[in-house]
Each structure stands twice: as C-alpha cells, then as structure tokens.
C-alpha cells in the first residue's frame, strides 16, 4: 500500500518529473528501436545481428551477468539479480551505443558507423521479497547492402544483384524476482518480440536495348514471445569474500512471421507489378538459451565473474538463405575493481571494469563458423551525491573471416549508459 500525500516532499515531486521524462524517452525509444544499428552483411542471416542489452556494467565486463548481483546496477541477463536492489529504491538504466565497423574481404575494405539506443530498463521492489522490472530494447538489427555479380542462368552474361536489408526486432520484457532466502533468489522474465525486416533484391539486365530491373521486396513482420527463468545463489566464504552461482534457462519461445513478397519489373520508365503481396506465414522456436555463471567477490573491491552460455540455433530456420545455423557457445569473463570503495562511507566509488568474450557463432557459411571475439574496458563514474552512475565502455572485437569470399569485421563499440538510482517512494513526512 502506497499513499502519496497531498503534501509531497520536494523529492517526491522530482521523482514524478523524472518518470514523465523517462516515459517520454521510452516513447521516443520505441520508434527508434526500429533504426538500423548494424552494417554487417552477416545480419542477413537468422533474425539479424543479435544485440547484447543486459546493462552498462555487463557490457564493460565482457557481457557477463548470469552471476552478477548489484544494488546499484541493473542486470537483466538474469532476472534473479533483481533481488539485489535495496528496498524503496528505484533503478533506471538507459544505454546508447555507437559502433564503428571496418569490413574487409579478400579484395576490399569498407567502414560503417552505426548508433542506436541500447536499452531502457528499470527495476523496483514490490515487497520485501518480491521485485519487478521492465525493459525495452532492440533484440536484433538488420542492416546490410550486399552487392554481388551473378550470371544469368544459362549464359555467361553477368548482371549486378543487390541485396539490401533493413529493420530489426524489438523486445519488451517484464521481470519478476523472488528472494527465497537471504542467499537464494529466483527470477522469471517474459518478453514480447516484434519487428519488421525488409529485404530488397534488385537485379538488372539489359535485353536488346532495354534495361530491366527486377525488384523483389520481402517484408517480414515478426511477432513472438518467450519465457526465461534464472536463479542466483550467494555462498559466503568468509567475511571478506563470497561466491555467487547463477543459472539461466529458456523455457519456451515462439516467433511468428508473415512475409509479404512483391516483385516489380521496371523498364523504360515503366514499372509493373508482377506479383504482389504474396503472404506466407511461418513460425519457429527461438533458440532456448541456457547458461551458468560464477562470481567471486572479494573485500568490496574486486568482483571476478565468468559465464558460459549455449544457444542452439539449429532448428531456427526463418531465413532468407539456405545456410545452416548452428550452436553458439559463449565463453565470457569480466572483472570489476572499485579501489576506493568503502561501505562505511556514504560515498560512491569509481568502478573500473574489463572483460572478454568468445562466441563460437551460430552462423555457418560455406562450412565456416563465424566466430566473434572481443575485449572490453569500462568505467563507472558516480554522477550524483547519491547512487547514480554514468558508465562508459569500449569493446574491441572482430568477427568472421576473409576466407572463402567471406567478410571479416573489426569493430569498436562505444557504450554509454546512465544508471539512475533513486528512492522509489518516500514516506509521508510529518507536517
């Protein structure tokens, strides 16, 4: 039961103002989620390039998080972690990212800069043992231009073929976490996925003296949902140190698709639709993530963590191409160091973070597994007298190979997130 009195404190009014602003941003964010945040040709496969969106701190620590708990930083990779936030507090986290990618194949290089909202998420206690959270973030991004030269089947004549993909999936999720005991927590996350991916194929040939352009537009409308659970168990070792053991598992998922295909033929300033709006619907199971993580906390200053995740994409066949998807194995590790942290002082300390990750990759093109590896560095700077932080991180990584006409990408991802901590509701003040 929460009663907001007519005589609010200054702080309460501040909160409402902030929530309004937050909602405005969310509103903005929903439209912006559809924006491309990739220029990778690999985003042509599957549902596009998957976004990693579990929080600013996680990003700096090699995208770990299964066994991370914090009362300051939001971590949506394991819903059980929400039980770490303190009573009557409220954490709001907003992240944006910029990515510079250098693409390289056997003959050429190119570069691309993309940017987008990374996430909007918040968490709050509901009762002493129950915690809730919501998140809104891009799930995947599609943004590619693939210029190829094909030869007309039956001849040696070549023609340009241009594939262009845009769009992506967005994700809105609700989380609920339950603190069973002081050291054992459970969480659940239910999400809704939606989005559009458009692929346009342009092929041009000259026949006699006329140039014909065939444009095939596939507009895929996705919608789906999933349900995940997670757990975290804290194991105190001594007064100075403890372990956290975490686990997550996907329970169910479904992604429905509806493809509208339009083929048009353009020539001599005439455009005719050959076939339009051929709708085909499909449905697939999104791969169910399973993952385990382990953290070691030492003396309020050091946190070391490691995650392993496995994601089986083999049955996910919603794809424009016939390339097979396979299992992605992720090995991630991260470290956080707070040199001046002293819980006895009511002052927040700067956090220094680093991490690495290796993804075996779920794309298998020409029998080449497209792996990805990255190292990350980050810093968390307190931005107010109380417990809010600005987090900055940079991730340096590479993906793919230049072998077999494939593409190698080297990327620099800058992430900037604002972890805003505030009192959820203040108690009535005495007049």
């Amino acid at each position: 039961m929460f009663i907001i009195s007519t005589t609010k404190s200054k702080r309460t009014r501040m909160n409402i103002k902030k929530i309004i602003v937050a909602l405005l941003i969310i509103f903005q964010g929903i439209t912006l989620l559809a924006q491309n945040s990739t220029s990778s040709p690999y985003s042509a496969f599957g549902i596009g390039e998957l976004e990693m969106t579990s929080g600013g701190r996680n990003t700096a620590m090699g995208q770990t998080g299964i066994a991370l708990r914090s009362d300051l930083f939001l971590n949506t990779s394991n819903p059980a972690s929400l039980t770490a936030i303190s009573p009557q507090s409220f954490i709001f986290d907003l992240g944006v990212n910029f990515e510079y990618t250098q693409l390289k194949n056997s003959t050429k290089t190119a570069d691309a800069t993309d940017g987008n909202l990374s996430w909007l998420q918040m968490a709050f206690p509901i009762s002493k043992k129950l915690f809730g959270g919501i998140s809104l973030n891009p799930k995947s991004s599609v943004g590619y231009n693939i210029f190829t030269t094909k030869s007309i089947d039956g001849t040696s004549t070549t023609y340009p073929s241009i594939y262009e993909g845009t769009g992506g999936l967005s994700e809105a999720a609700g989380m609920l976490a339950w603190k069973l005991t002081k050291n054992i927590s459970f969480g659940a996350k239910a999400g809704y996925l939606w989005g559009n991916v458009a692929q346009t194929l342009d092929e041009s040939i000259a026949v006699s003296s006329t140039i014909y352009t065939i444009t095939k537009e596939d507009d895929v409308r996705y919608s789906g949902s999933y349900f995940n659970i997670g757990t975290q168990i804290s194991i105190p070792v001594s007064t100075k140190s403890s372990f956290v053991l975490g686990g997550i598992a996907g329970i169910s998922s479904r992604l429905n698709s509806e493809i509208s295909t339009t083929i048009t033929k353009t020539y001599s300033s005439t455009s005719e639709t050959i076939s339009s709006d051929v709708k085909t619907t499909g449905s697939m199971k999104l791969p169910l993530d399973i993952g385990v993580g382990l953290s070691y906390l030492y003396g309020n200053k050091w946190i070391a963590t490691a995650d392993y995740r496995r994601c089986d994409w083999r049955d996910a066949t919603l794809d424009f191409s016939s390339n097979k998807l396979s299992i992605n194995n992720s090995y991630r590790g991260g470290l956080e160091f707070s040199p001046k942290n002293d819980p006895s002082l009511f002052r927040q300390a700067t956090k220094y973070r680093l991490g690495f990750r290796y993804e075996s990759g779920y794309l298998n093109i020409y029998s080449n597994q497209i792996h990805e590896q990255a190292v990350s560095f980050g810093i968390g700077i307190p931005i107010k007298k109380d417990r809010s932080y600005a987090n900055f991180s940079v991730e340096l990584g590479s993906r793919g190979t230049t072998k077999n006409s494939l593409v190698q990408e080297k990327f620099v991802k800058l992430n900037c997130s604002f972890n805003l901590w505030d009192k959820w509701f203040t108690k009535r003040q005495i007049d």
Partner: protein, 453 residues
C-alpha cells in the same frame, strides 16, 4: 536537477543516432547469400516456323519504278513491269521541223537487286485502255491492263544502276511521225492533257520474265543532280523525247526535242509477278499460301515485291512459366540468322525488318511496341558482330508480344510475322534467306529471360 539534464542530453543523442557507411560498393562473395533467386535465360523453347505468302501489295503511286527480273532458289523468279501515263508538257515553239527519233528516257535511282551482269530485255507497249483505280483508289502488284502486243520499242541491256547514265529506248518512227504531225498541227489532242490521254492511254515498260537478272529502280520525280560532275545531266522522271531538227536552221540549233513527261498526278504502278515453279515454295497457293520451313530445306525467308513473311510460332509458350513456378517473365528476344553464302555482302541486307503479330489465319493485326513504349515499334535490327568470325543476325525484342500472349487466359494461336515493311514491299524485290529451326548454326534463337524466385 542533474539527472534531468542528463536525460535531456540522452534524448538529444537518440535524435542524432543514425547509420552512416561507406559500404555502397563493398562487394561480397557471389554466393554470400545462397539462394535460388535470380535471372534465368532459356533458349530451348520450341519454335515452329513457316513461310507465308501474301496475295498482293498496293503498289500504285510508289516512289520508284521497278523494272527487271531476278531469281532466288527459295521463291523462284520475280519480275516487275512499270505502268505509267504520259502528258505533253512542252510549248510548241516550232511547227516547221523534221522528225528525227522518238525515245523513252529514264534515270536509274541506284536501286538494284540481283545480277546486273545478265542481259535483260525491256519492251515498251501502248496501253489499250486508260488505267483506273479500284474503289479504294488502289492498284496492286497483281493488277492487269491490256496493252498492244506489238511493242513501240525494245532494248536489251545490262543494267548499270549506279552509272548515272540514262536508259533510252528507241520507240517506233511510225508513232513518232504521227506525234510530229499532231504537233505541227497543234492538235487539241496534244495540247489538252485530257484529250491526249484518250489518244495515248499510257504505256507499260515490260521486263522479260524468268531471267536471272536484276530488278532496278527508276526515278519517278525530277531531281537535281546529286553528283557535282558536270558531265551528268539533271535527273528526270521518265519522259518520251521527240527529237527533231529545223530546216532551215538559221540559228543553228541542235539537240531539239519535244517532251512527253510521265504524269506523276496520273495513275502509275509496279506490276510484280513471280514464277514459283521448281522453287522451294512451288505450289504454295494450294496450301493456303503457307509452307513449313521443314519443307523449304529448313530455310526461313523474307521477300519484298512479292510479300513473303517468315512466320514464327512458340507452341509451348505457356509451359515456360509452368516449368518454373514463382517465376516472372522479364523479356525475350528473337534472332534470325541469314545463311552465309546466300548474300554476297552484308550491305545487301536490309538494316531492319518489320515485325508484326498475326492471328491464326495469318491475318496481320499490326506491329507491336518496344517494352514500355507507346510510340516505338519493335523492329528486327541487323546486327553484325565481327569477332574471329563475322556473325550476322537480325534481333527483335518480342517482350511485348510474349507479355500479351502470357496474359491471355486462352490460347491465342498468335504468331510473329517478320518481313519487309509496306514501303519496301512495293519498291523493292529483295529477299533474305535465314536458317530455319534445326538448321544448325543459322537456326533462329529465342531467348526468354525470367526471374526465378
């Protein structure tokens, strides 16, 4: 207030977040996206073909008089006679003169087709009756008018169409004397063109048929000489010259003649006939004027003067899109290859041929347009590719034709007719021999392009 400011700052960042890249020309491997979608060309569709002969061509008032006879093994002998009316268009300056000779004078217009080294005989006959147009104001290559058996004059020559020399056919002195007498008397029959026409109803210049010679063209209008050489005189339309001299001749005048000119406002036409006996289309009129190219030594053929078309049918067209589901027709071209050795020089080949669509009874329904155009018709254009070997073919874009066919619910049985346009048909006696289906490297090529989804 700090938090609030940060949120505003983030909002600003979100507005500027965007994608920028230089990957526009970043070409990745051809099979980076492996799918079957793409453009396919099929050249294995069955073509059935035949030669179709049309009865006659309206040939009056054309821009050329055609005279002569030529031959080819496919369609046999062609022969053209010219019919025309004359009128006296001179002032009678002298009535006291001595008649010398009467000649029909004509100028080559440089057109010829056939063998000009063969001696040919042309004869000039007077018409028995005035010519009349039919109800639609036409005369045809097959039109007939009676003429006097006995010629006014004949000439045997090897045509020299590019010589810029006039052809002069000496006509009967008896007739010349008669005209001279009428001039001396300034008879109405001479001075009035209407009366002259009733007296001299016109003439036909006949070519001896069944000669493997050449058909040549003569001017129908007076033209300023195109050559700058002073030796060549002005080019004239056909005229009859009555040469005379004065006696006495005080001013010493020479080369005097009275002129009877071709009346270009009157009736004139080319009468073109053919003799198909022992040719590959011998007896074609007994089979609805159509003969399969299987029966013509696998030749396809187009002929002007006598209008013969190459007819192309694509009998299993509807199978095209059945065999390729989800496919979309893009375009199609048809190529016909002239058989090497049947023409001496590519200059002898017309630069383009007309292409029509025709119904199942071979009635021509008209030309069809180039794709996307409502004004430009599709023509079969002569293309000469000089590589190691010279490749010569006619190519026509038949996309519009096939599009119409594919959009029909029922089988239309329409065909493509390739041949000479109406102007060429009545002013030339040309032909091109193409390879027909199953004729090896000169066989027609039908290339159909479609998008396979």
């Amino acid at each position: 207030m700090k938090t609030y400011q940060i949120l505003i700052f983030l909002l600003a960042i979100l507005f500027v977040s965007c994608t920028e890249s230089s990957i526009e020309d970043f070409v990745v491997g051809e099979n980076f996206i492996k799918n079957k979608t793409g453009i396919v060309m099929v050249d294995t569709l069955t073509i059935s073909s035949s030669l179709v002969k049309y009865d006659s061509i309206a040939s009056n008032s054309s821009d050329r008089f055609l005279l002569g006879s030529n031959y080819n093994s496919v369609s046999g002998y062609k022969n053209s006679n010219m019919f025309l009316e004359m009128t006296f268009d001179d002032d009678i300056s002298y009535t006291e003169f001595v008649f010398d000779s009467l000649c029909l004078v004509m100028d080559y217009d440089t057109y010829s087709f056939g063998d000009t080294t063969v001696t040919q005989t042309f004869s000039v006959h007077q018409l028995k009756k005035e010519m009349e147009l039919d109800d639609d104001n036409y005369l045809y290559t097959t039109s007939q008018f009676a003429y006097e058996e006995t010629p006014l004059g004949t000439i045997s020559l090897k045509p020299k169409p590019n010589s810029h020399k006039k052809v002069s056919i000496r006509l009967s002195d008896k007739f010349g004397n008669r005209l001279s007498e009428m001039i001396r008397l300034k008879r109405d029959t001479i001075t009035s063109s209407v009366l002259f026409n009733t007296f001299f109803k016109g003439l036909v210049v006949k070519s001896q048929s069944d000669i493997k010679g050449a058909a040549v063209g003569f001017y129908t209008t007076d033209t300023e000489s195109t050559t700058s050489t002073t030796s060549s005189s002005d080019i004239t339309k056909p005229e009859i010259r009555l040469y005379y001299h004065l006696k006495p001749n005080p001013e010493n005048l020479s080369d005097l003649y009275y002129k009877f000119s071709f009346n270009s406002d009157g009736i004139y036409f080319n009468q073109i006939s053919s003799d198909e006996s022992n040719s590959l289309i011998d007896g074609i009129s007994d089979t609805d004027n159509e003969r399969s190219s299987k029966l013509t030594n696998n030749y396809l053929f187009v002929q002007s003067g006598i209008q013969i078309f190459s007819k192309i049918k694509i009998p299993y067209l509807e199978n095209l899109l059945l065999t390729a589901e989800n496919s979309a027709f893009i375009a199609a071209t048809l190529r016909l290859y002239p058989v090497k050795g049947t023409y001496t020089n590519t200059d002898d080949l017309p630069t383009s041929l007309y292409v029509y669509s025709a119904d199942r009874k071979n009635v021509i329904s008209g030309q069809f347009y180039l794709p996307g155009s409502t004004s430009d018709y599709a023509y079969a254009q002569l293309t000469i590719v000089t590589d190691v070997e010279e490749t010569v073919y006619y190519e026509v874009d038949i996309t519009t034709f096939l599009n119409t066919e594919l959009n029909e619910e029922l089988l239309t049985d329409r065909s493509i007719m390739i041949g000479y346009g109406t102007t060429d048909a009545k002013t030339t006696i040309d032909h091109v021999i193409f390879g027909g289906p199953n004729s090896g490297k000169f066989a027609p090529e039908l290339n159909v392009y479609y998008f396979h989804n």
